[in-house]
Structures are given as structure tokens and as C-alpha cells.
Symmetry: C2
Subunit: 344 residues, 2 copies
DNA sequence: ATGAAAGCGCTAACAC
DNA sequence: GTGTTAGCGCTTTCAT
């Protein structure tokens, strides 16, 4: 080994056993809560004491090699810098760490290929399971992993490539609430800037928009919808310009908050006031969306809870074997702020 | 093992060796770039082919157990939901993953005790080294780890508890640039809301404030400085109220962007306009600070670069042994936006 | 150039 | 109740 310079060599189970005057096997039993009953109380005490004295830490690799469990879980996110994902990660991590699992985060940088690589790398590390927040509707990497029996739970985005437990939020109800709000304010020409259709959130919110618009009696002209190429401020701005060039919406429903920010920029750029000339609704309620000018009306998604639920599902899978089809949909909430008002 | 239901058993090196018609030891040599020269070219080809056919992935635990290296690095952050930290993590992760290292992130939730637990948990996982972004000036856990020879690099925050390589940004120059800007605009009564003094960023920026204020000839009354208990919007608002109760600054330098957001809230709450009545400067330039109203003048800190440099330092340590005293300070940049103007 | 064998630290099946 | 033993998958020294 590359000797840890000045480093203390770590105590091994054998060291503990010797100090306690027992065999390594006995020490193992004494330290493990599950097998502790098989050992005399005096021995348990002696071993525990020796362990404490030597500051013994079980070597998780050795244990993992033997038990074929690592107590590590991989979490794959498309972009950790997107404020949407840290809460998901933290929600998951809290649940997992309480159950003794360590979380490894992989960031795919919104790149499909890197998602595959991340899954492969994590599997090579023998993670016990995977939480995937980056799935696309057509996701080869997820399909493969699922086929190979990897315990895997999707969060935030669904896929059509595999039948796998998934925790999302209620996109239909979110869109419905947003539209109801706008229609109640008197809007009929409502523009929609959905996220990319290759992501479930993009497609499902777009579908929900069409469905509820016709139900609520709003205008459903094709030129009122412009799909964004990505969930970003820039793509939102590009789409907003296209929309405003080809139609005259009094309100715009954005695919997410970043897109909404892009919309606000373009409105300013064109001398249109929000909400007086055009109302804007976002989606997700990221941090600081209440500090924009005007504060953004948006749909609040319970990201931390989604992460936590997904982690629960995964833990159950790990403990009890694969669950049946399992689609958890968490409720969302419309947060009305200053970016929406009745049309002039 | 808890059989992976329907799962494919993973190919082992022995499987590969058998398929290639060689011994496991030979297969190992053939697959390892460093020892590949010891093996005939034909054998290398055969083994590589077998490995590919079986989709062989070396078991990192088995390897680690033997080599006493895990190729895992722990990264400890105080709060992943704070937009400041994801870029640091990503910067580090990119460098580390290119070198074959996997990153494990631990979130201490701004809790000293949890920092200690995280370090312990990561060490129990046999990480090869640690990147710590959560250090406090007086940090027992870091001190202990360093004393025990754990390769450890600090990023973003320094400590006085140990002599350890550290990558930060230039707080003094950041404060100086901000103050110069304000003084040039004509401000003399400049309030300061530094972060908590138990963090190096809090203390050092406070010191720099005093130093440069006296140098620039501004007012340096004690009632113009109010320390924030945490780096948060709420703590910033609390401190801002205190400040405005006891003094009449025409400009406020906030300890970071969150604090600045709290200041903006309080100004609004009191009917004071920014920048007409009070100018505000933040610190860090987090995402969306350019979308506030008014857009926030702030000091941009190269977080991703800091993460990357810290990772480099750690890699060097891992490869070549402990470096000497090593304090890297990255330059910062003042970003002037709409929240600063000349006093009325 | 390759096979044989030992052993990393741990757990578990088997003795006694 | 505790010692013994084998072996998880890999690397590496020692033979040959």
C-alpha cells in the first residue's frame, strides 16, 4: 500500500479479537447486533471495549465482499446545479442514511450517454440499488439495468422503456390548477411553453394543457404552444420570442421556472409588462422564485418528499424483493404571487 | 446473498480467465494497463475479448481490499441546497472522475456534529481522501482527521485548527473591490452585515471591510456593522433591521447573496428604495441574482474552479504524498448591476 | 510468459 | 458459547 504518511494503521477485527482474548469469529459475532445473542455477555463487553479502545471501524469492503451488499445507493441526477435536484437528493439521502446506506451522486450533465456511463460506473461499484432522476421517456440505459434486475426506482421523471417503480408529482393536477387560476382571472388566449417532449414532464404537462384547456373552454390554437428544446432560461427565452411573434397571449404557462424566467426576460425586452400585459406561471417553485420581479406564480412540487418516497420504495425493494408496479404521484400546490393578474 | 431476483450474476475475473483459457492471475495482468506488458499480445487479446463478451466489470471491493485503495473521495458540504455548493461539487467531481475516482457527497446540514459523523462515516468507507467545504475556523473534526493522516483538502472555508491545503477565493480583494465601487459612487456611511465570525469567510471579510474602509476614508462606526448569525435570508433580514434601527447607511455590504436578499426584503418592508435610498452589494453571485429586482451587484466567486483546484490538490496528495503548506487563493470579480448607485 | 498460491478483512457454516 | 475453516474477487510474489 501507499503508506499513509504519518497515518495510523487502522485496527482490524483480528486486533480487536486479540486484545479481547477471543477469536476473530467471536469478535465478529459480538459486534454484530444480529448475532450478538450467540455470545456470552462477558465476551460481548470485552470485545466492545477492545473495539472502542482501538477505535475499530469495520472495513466495509471486506464485509461487502463477503456479504455481497455494499449499503451504497447511487442517485443519478441530470444537473445538480439545477435547484430542482438538491432537495430530491437530500430527501432521499436522509431516508437512506437512516437505514445505514451511503449515497453516491452522479451528475449526467443532461447527457444521455453519460447517464449510461454513470449507471455502469455505479454498478461496477456494486451499489445495492439506483435512484434515477434523469430518465427520459425512451431510456435505453434504464431499460437495460431493469432487465438485468438492478433494483431501481425512478423519481421526478417517468420512462416508457421499463416497468419500474416511479415517484413523480401530479402534473395533470398542477397544470389544471394553473389553468383554472388563469381562466378564472379572465384569460382565454393562454400560451404554453412546454419542456422537451422526450421528457415525461414535458409531454405530460403538454397533454394536460390541451386536455384542460378544451375542458375550460380556452383557445387551443397550435400557434399558442411552442416546445422548449431544454428546461433552461435560454431555451425559454427563445421559445417565448417565437410565441410572441406568432400569437398574442395574455398569459403564458411555462414548462418550468427556468423557462418562466426566460419569458420574463423577453417580456421586458419587448416592453411588455408582467402581469399587466402578460401573466406568467412557472412550475416547480425553486428557491428565490418569490424574489423575482414580479414574484412568480408557480406550481410547487414537493421535491424533498419525492426523494424521500423514492428512497423508501427502494429500501423496501432491497429488503423484500421487487415490488409490483408502483407509481406514486404526489400532490402539488399552486402558489399565487405577483406574476398573474386579470388581462387588461 | 439475497439473490437478485431474475438478476444476472456478474461475471468474475475467474469466468473471464476460464473463457480465455488462462489462469485468473494472467487475466488480471492482461486487463491491467500497468502489468499488461508482462503478458503475450495474443493472451491480452483473448482476455480482453472474453471480458467484453461477458461484460466483465472488476469488483471494486475485491480490488480495494487487496490494494487498500478505494478510488473513492468524500466531499463534505454544509448544505447542498445552497446554490453555492453544487458548482464546487461539480468542479471537483469532474476532475476526480477523470482520474478514476468516485465522489461521495455528504451534507452536514450546517451542523458541526454531523460534520464529524460524516467524516467518520466516510472514513469507515475507506475513502482515499476528503474534500471539506464545511470547515469552521475552530474545527475539531478536521483537526482530528488531519492528525490521523487522512489526505484532506479544504475548499471555500479555511480553518485555524490544522495546517492543511486550502483553496479559497480572495476575500480581501472581493471586499476591496466592492468598497471601492461604493466609495467611488460617493457612499461614506456603508453598513456591513458579515457572516458568522466562526466561519473564515465571515471573519476575513469583516476584517477586510475594516481594513479597506479606513484606507478608503469611509465611516467606520461600530453601529454600522451587524454580524449575521447564519448565511441565510432570514438572518440577513434580522441583521438588516438591527442595522437600520441603529444607523443610517446609504449602502449595505452583505456577507453573501442570501443575506443581501434579506436586506432587499427589509428595505422594501420599510419603504426604502434600492438603489435610490440604499445601495446593496452581495457576495458569491449565485444563480438568479441577476434576476432580482433590482439585479444584485455582487462579487463573483469562481466556485467550480475552486472545486476543481481542490480536487487537483487532493489528487496530487494521493499520488505524491502530503504537500507542503498550500493555500490557493483564486481571484474574484465585482459584477456591477442595478442594486448600487450614487446616494441621493 | 504464465500458473500456483497466499492473503487483503470479514462473515458464516460447521465443529466441538 | 466459541474456535476453526473456508471463501468472497482480486492482486501479486514466487515459481517454473
Amino acid at each position: 500500500m501507499a503508506a499513509r504518511p504519518g497515518g495510523t494503521r487502522h485496527a482490524t477485527l483480528k486486533d480487536v479479537a486479540e486484545r479481547a482474548g477471543v477469536h476473530a469469529g467471536t469478535a465478529s459475532r459480538a459486534l454484530n447486533p444480529a448475532t450478538q445473542g450467540l455470545v456470552s455477555e462477558a465476551t460481548v463487553r470485552a470485545v466492545r471495549e477492545a473495539a472502542k479502545a482501538l477505535d475499530y471501524r469495520p472495513n466495509s469492503m471486506a464485509r461487502g465482499l463477503k456479504t455481497n451488499k455494499t449499503f451504497m445507493v447511487g442517485v443519478i441526477v441530470p444537473d445538480l446545479s439545477n435547484p430542482l435536484f438538491p432537495p430530491i437528493v437530500r430527501g432521499a439521502e436522509e431516508v437512506l442514511s437512516r437505514a445505514g446506506y451511503t449515497t453516491i451522486i452522479a451528475d449526467t450533465d443532461n447527457d444521455r450517454e453519460r447517464e449510461g456511463e454513470s449507471i455502469a460506473a455505479l454498478r461496477a461499484r456494486q451499489v445495492d440499488g439506483l435512484l434515477v432522476a434523469s430518465a427520459s421517456r425512451d431510456d435505453e440505459a434504464v431499460r437495460t439495468a431493469v432487465e438485468q434486475g438492478v433494483p431501481l426506482v425512478l423519481v421526478n421523471r417517468r420512462t416508457e422503456s421499463a416497468n419500474v417503480p416511479t415517484v413523480t408529482s401530479d402534473d395533470r393536477s398542477g397544470i389544471e390548477k394553473a389553468l383554472e387560476h388563469l381562466v378564472r382571472l379572465g384569460h382565454t388566449a393562454i400560451g404554453h411553453l412546454p419542456g422537451p417532449a422526450h421528457l415525461s414532464t414535458g409531454l405530460e404537462r403538454a397533454r394536460a394543457f390541451r386536455h384542460h384547456m378544451s375542458e375550460l373552454g380556452g383557445t387551443l390554437a397550435p400557434e399558442l404552444t411552442v416546445e422548449c428544446s431544454t428546461y433552461s432560461v435560454d431555451a425559454g427565452a427563445v421559445a417565448a420570442r417565437t410565441l410572441l411573434d406568432q400569437a398574442e397571449p395574455t398569459a403564458i404557462l411555462a414548462g418550468n421556472d427556468q423557462i418562466a424566467v426566460g419569458v420574463l426576460d423577453v417580456l421586458r425586452e419587448r416592453g411588455l409588462r408582467c402581469p399587466e400585459d402578460v401573466s406568467v406561471v412557472g412550475y416547480n417553485d425553486m428557491t428565490f422564485m418569490d424574489k423575482l420581479s414580479p414574484p412568480l406564480t408557480t406550481v410547487r412540487v414537493p421535491h424533498a418528499a419525492m426523494g424521500a418516497e423514492a428512497a423508501q420504495l427502494l429500501l423496501r425493494w432491497l429488503a423484500e424483493g421487487p415490488p409490483g408496479p408502483n407509481m406514486l404521484t404526489l400532490p402539488v400546490e399552486l402558489v399565487v404571487r405577483g406574476s398573474t393578474a386579470s388581462p387588461a
